[in-house]
Symmetry: C2
Subunit: 369 residues, 2 copies
């Protein structure tokens, strides 16, 4: 399923899915509730992203599993023919739900929407992800609150491993008869910034065997150098022929460093969330070895009021797509105005620009810029 084509200067490969090939390294725009916030499915297509990430937890609560089954899965629901990776619900159940109770069986929690009680288990998470029809499923893991003691981290690592085994068992006996028999399953390595625990977590998952390995529990407030140190220790012990996925937010210059160390896949809420707050990512120059290759500008800055500069990033490497054509119609001054008066179009245009930036960053890395 994963072809590694080169290792230097960065890893490049292809993941084959039932919904197209994914050239690594790649970025996944986030479609939490079955839509990339503010965008239509056609606009994601126009951006040229071959994959989106969607959230098991959110779709499980609304519209719910029965509806997703009736609608024929997530691809058909949002009319998206590209690939979909779904997270397991593990992170959200710990960060968003109320009055959760963790047992060996799984996590009992109350929905923040209507207070209804739900039990999410490794098997249930797999069942939901298979019903959604994801191309890449993630194992249900235990995410712990920080700061945590070494003992707490160890227990979470061990439980995550036991849950990963249950996920693998459920997946193996159900994926063949699911709507996407070619779906892949990734394990999630936990262990915080403790190298020994990270190694233990990785070894446990490697013994079970997965189609890919994700690094969870980073980008949670630790210094950037600590995240790099974890990757420096961890990536060399992972098999070369399996894709590695860095879960969680990363700024563009951080992504460049992670890719250099051998990470293949990313998701990140920053381009879309920042867009909705009027912060635009734009290219400064194409030299990715210098960390100032981009800037983040604040559209509400008075500088942009009445600016006749094109909204299309002047340093954009490729300017031929439909998204570029759409952005090129407007000025920075118009976008400033739309933000000022809070027109929805503002959030859409800024989201397009930021996703275009992130996607083109990966295109540049794949091309070897």
């Amino acid at each position: 399923m994963f072809e590694l084509n080169s290792e230097t200067p960065i890893r490049k490969g292809v993941i084959h899915t039932s919904h197209g090939d994914l050239q690594t390294p790649f970025f996944m725009p986030i479609a939490t509730r079955g839509a990339v916030k503010t965008l239509s499915t056609k606009e994601i297509e126009d951006l040229g992203s071959p994959i989106v990430l969607s959230n098991t937890y959110h779709l499980f609560l609304r519209p719910g599993l029965e509806i997703m089954e009736r609608m024929g899965g997530l691809h058909r629901f949002m009319d998206w023919n590209g690939a979909i990776l779904t997270d397991s619900g593990g992170f959200q159940v710990f960060s968003l739900s109320q009055r959760r109770k963790v047992t060996e069986e799984g996590v009992l929690f109350r929905s923040p929407i209507d207070g209804a009680e739900h039990l999410l288990t490794p098997e249930r998470s797999m069942e939901i992800q298979l019903t959604l029809g994801s191309d890449v499923l993630m194992c249900f893991d235990e995410v712990i609150a920080l700061p945590a003691t070494e003992q707490q981290t160890l227990e979470a690592v061990e439980r995550t491993e036991r849950w990963a085994k249950r996920c693998k068992d459920y997946y193996e006996s159900h994926v063949g008869s699911s709507k996407n028999p070619n779906a892949k399953l990734f394990g999630i390595i936990q262990g915080g910034t403790d190298h020994a625990l990270r190694q233990k977590s990785a070894e446990g998952l490697l013994k079970i065997g997965f189609d890919g390995y994700a690094i969870g529990g980073l980008s949670v407030g630790e210094p950037f150098q600590d995240a790099l140190a974890v990757l420096d220790e961890l990536l060399p012990i992972l098999p070369k022929d399996r894709p590695r996925y860095f879960m969680g937010g990363a700024q563009p210059h951080q992504i460049v460093e992670y890719v250099k160390r051998g990470v293949d896949m990313f998701d990140c809420v920053l381009p879309t969330r920042n867009a909705r707050h009027g912060h635009l990512y734009r290219w400064k120059h194409p030299d990715l070895t210098k960390p100032d290759f981009y800037e983040v500008i604040n559209l509400m800055n008075a500088k942009w009021k009445g600016s006749t500069e094109s909204l299309l990033d002047p340093n954009l490497p490729e300017s031929k797509g439909l998204t570029q054509k759409e952005l090129g119609r407007y000025t920075m001054g118009y976008l400033h105005h739309l933000f000022d008066v809070q027109e929805m179009l503002a959030y859409r245009l800024a989201t397009m620009q930021n996703l275009l930036f992130y996607l083109q960053l990966f295109e540049r890395m794949r091309r070897g810029d």
Copy 2:
């Protein structure tokens, strides 16, 4: 500028503008602040509307006249090559601003945004609309609070007439050197539901002479029959070779009645505002002589949860445009979900459907369905 081509069964004609021909009767989507709420300029183009209406009052407050001048006018600001009609600010200054003071000179008011004091006069309204580069300018009129005595209504009618004369004078001496020398100026007939006052108002404006005549001060809560009675008395005394514009909200079956009586132009906030509240206009059958030719459905109704019915209105007369293609990708169940989780895409798709409905209603009337 206006060619009347037929009078029965309904008036049909063409208004020629510097930004295209407008076949009457027609409907104007509302782009209050330089954008049709939720939509991009391309999406208005895809809908096939040849004109939008924009608001002098809102654009005067934000981004302001100096910025609009620097941006080269409203067409360039929103990259819209179709026609634009701007209202005069009269209605908004009376309905939205704080601590207003009306004198013969104009209206002194405070901005609800920053409390700054502004004076809007007939001349200033013309200046703003010429700076925006509108294709159709509206006279600055006095709008009175209801209920009003006959004396109050009479005074407003007389002042509106004096202000209309000042608008005409300013327009005549400035339009030639403006960015849209072919711009037209419409007068606004006031007078409430009092036939004698309506007639007096019309006669006063006819003496001054305008490119078109608007009927203001209806759709403000009076019974539908009263609005019809005003039109029945008023329209026969208006010149046939000038377009008539009904200002304000109207439901589809009311529009059919107004058009029958000889109205040529409409704007209406209902399709866009209702869309954002999850109310969809859909065709029931094509016979416009029966008032139940359409229905308004509530998307949040449980009936639509998990519905696999296409979002594309099954009774839509024309299904070839880009908007139809976009709507046809999704199901009613998906739109229900998007509203449930408050994704912006929900408001966009519903806005498209409702504007398509209104625009197709007019297309059917022009075709003689």
